[in-house]
């Protein structure tokens, strides 16, 4: 499978997903760490891909939605941004409702199919 299709599958299969350096438990980068902590603070499960353990995704993720850096956070299939935007949205109180809506929508979709 083409790498962009593989990335797309991750994004579509998970209502909330972060492509990060390391894992939420063992992040390898301060920015990835902060962004995954912001998602944890929302209190709903989220998916992750450790880009350091998948060289093909590491190389190609920047061209998937034309975003040059890691981490990248996707909610309901949409690029939210990187660490700075995710933290700013948490600070504004916008992140949690967005995440909750995405998770709820996904569970409704699954129920219907």
């Amino acid at each position: 499978m083409d790498v962009l299709e593989r990335i797309d599958q991750f994004v579509k299969a998970n209502p909330v997903i972060i492509f990060m350096k390391g894992t939420p438990q063992f992040p390898s980068c301060g920015f990835s760490s902060r962004a995954s902590e912001a998602l944890k603070a929302c209190g709903v499960p989220f998916g992750y891909v450790n880009v350091l353990s998948d060289p093909e995704i590491f190389e190609n993720l920047p061209r998937y939605r034309d975003w040059p850096t890691f981490p990248q956070i996707y909610i309901d299939g949409e690029l939210i941004g990187g660490c700075d935007i995710t933290l700013e949205m948490l600070d504004r109180g916008e992140l949690q409702p967005l995440v909750e809506q995405a998770v709820q929508k996904k569970s409704l979709d699954n129920g219907a199919s």
Binding site: K21, S28, G30, F31, L52, G81, I85, E88
Partner: protein, 102 residues
């Protein structure tokens, strides 16, 4: 010859006419990097009004594409309108580098 920080300043001042601009060279926070690789920018500009965070970041990233192409590795961005900045007044500091893989 201008430093990267000076080039960033010149570019952003002419493109965004910021009312407040902070350019922190944070390369020292990172292991094994050259001198001007990691930057943290705080930009307060009325040109951000009515624009979402993603669009603001895309615009700044594209303004600084040439720097990215020539070795600027990481860019931490904090973008505000003057009203948002008056409300907030400060932007978060960057985390220390937790690894050597970036």
């Amino acid at each position: 010859m201008m430093s990267r920080a000076e080039r960033i300043q010149t570019l952003l001042e002419s493109a965004l006419m910021p009312t407040h601009l902070e350019i922190d060279n944070e390369s020292h926070l990172h292991v094994g990097t050259r001198e001007e690789t990691h930057f943290r920018l705080v930009i307060v500009s009325e040109s951000f009004a009515g624009e979402g965070l993603l669009a603001r970041h895309r615009r700044v990233q594209s303004l600084l594409q040439a720097e990215r192409d020539t070795g600027m590795h990481a860019l931490s961005l904090h973008t505000f309108t003057t009203a948002e900045w008056a409300h907030k007044g400060t932007a978060p500091a960057s985390p220390d580098c937790a690894g050597h893989n970036h």
